[in-house]
Amino acid sequence: MNEELFVSGRNIPNIDPYLNIWHWQIPIYLYLGGLAAGIMFFAGYFTVMRKEKDMEATVKWAPFLVPGVLVLGLFALFLDLKHQLYFWRLYTTIRFESPMSWGAWTLMLITPLSFVWAASYMKELFPKWDWKFNILNKVESLAIKYREFLAWMMMLLAIVLGVYTGILLSAFNARPLWNTSILGPLFLVSGLSTGLATAMWMSKSKYERKVLSRLDLIMIFVELFLIIHLLMGFLAASEVQIEAAQLFLGGEFTAVFWSFVIILGLAFPATLEILELRGYHIPVWIPALLILIGGLVFRFVMVEAGQITRFLY
């Protein structure tokens, strides 16, 4: 028998009996960050490829959601803070060693960019739109002129943002489930996939949906591959990481992980997309919604499960 007890009766809220300091706000923040990154990346990509005409929903319509998504995400982060009056302290320093810090700064750069991008399509999509102030008209014409540059910026920042949502967790060596470098690319790919799903859902053109769903299939397969890698890596690592993997392989999180993330969130929508590409008619919102929910559940599971894993001594 090996037993550890706090004989001094330690029972600190949110720390004991197991760590639970991050609640729903952080997974939502990570999810919305990934979603915004996904939408922006492909909007930028198809602009650079000069496919704006064929990919209207991806390049023009979906990015209208991004400013809202990012603002909501930042708001969720704000809600997570326990010393909220000091929020501004985040923006009086940059600390590159701290993912929380450079991530907050990335959001500070990408959010205005998303507004400018959406604004640059306002008049085209809503011909009656009027900016009222001359300066805004000037900004718009500048944005239209330098759209390709903006597209490159968006792609770059979207990748940083997407990877950041994973690195925020993986930088914590103290939580064995998070402490794997695969989390960066994994969250990026998952974010890209949710972005594609959103654009797919909004698209009215058959051609566009086909292109997007092909891309999405690739993302899903990469994601599955990375998840397998993640688990294999854990099983081949130290005891604390083996235990972390066990949470998904028979432990507490097995049911939700396999049913909502792997099957309903990845495998099933992938099957539907394949059927659709083969010519069966499948309402597009079904795979899109499943992917979006799967991504959300994935963030929740990772944040929750990670906090209960720890070093043993």
């Binding site: 037993e3 949110n14 302290r89 701290s98 930088a171 914590f172 060596n173 939580r175």
Partner: protein, 177 residues
């Protein structure tokens, strides 16, 4: 200067005086604590071993909590003491996640709080509250770089271990075994 503490697990009786002394000295809110006592029971009767450990922040040499802090609220002062500046802390919880020893907590007022090695007492030439109150004298504190400090002397003649060295934080609490 490198402050550190040695804890004699053979002499500790688990009375909890250090916990109460710290709570009083540092005004720790009710229901919280900066130090605590762990009883580790190994084996079963008649082959059973008990280890009692008075634990607190390890003031790690390679402190992840300082690295991950987005505002610089978590910082290191002279002697390697890891501290939190309350009015710079935004309460994001990153440092709490980063600590392998769960040595930090979120104060009801919002900021993050933890053991300070009683730096306010050290300034006045006193030792930490927990060390001074310990009835069995099982806690040794001082400067590791000074061979005549209590902690250096305690470590010289005894076997010791640190907790979870594999976490890579280079903890500075030494448990005499």
């Amino acid at each position: 200067m490198r402050y550190a503490m040695a804890i004699d697990t053979k002499k500790c009786v688990g009375c909890g005086d250090c916990v109460v002394a710290c709570q009083t000295e540092n005004n720790v809110p009710h229901g919280y604590c900066r130090d605590w006592i762990v009883e580790n029971v190994n084996g079963s009767y008649p082959n059973v071993e008990i280890e009692l450990r008075s634990e607190r922040c390890n003031h790690c040499d390679n402190s992840p909590c300082v690295r991950c802090c987005p505002t610089g609220a978590s910082h290191i002062i002279e002697g390697g003491i890891v501290k939190v500046t309350h009015n710079e802390c935004i309460g994001c919880g990153a440092c709490i996640q980063s600590c392998p020893y769960d040595a930090r907590y979120s104060h009801p007022d919002g900021y993050v709080d933890k053991c300070t090695f009683c730096d306010h007492r050290l300034e006045k030439g006193q030792s930490t509250a927990c060390v001074e109150v310990c009835p069995t004298n099982c806690l040794y504190f001082g400067d590791l770089e000074d061979p005549n400090s209590d902690v250096s002397k305690a470590l010289k003649n005894r076997k010791w271990k640190v907790l979870a060295p594999e976490a890579g934080t280079k903890p500075q609490l030494y448990f005499l075994t």
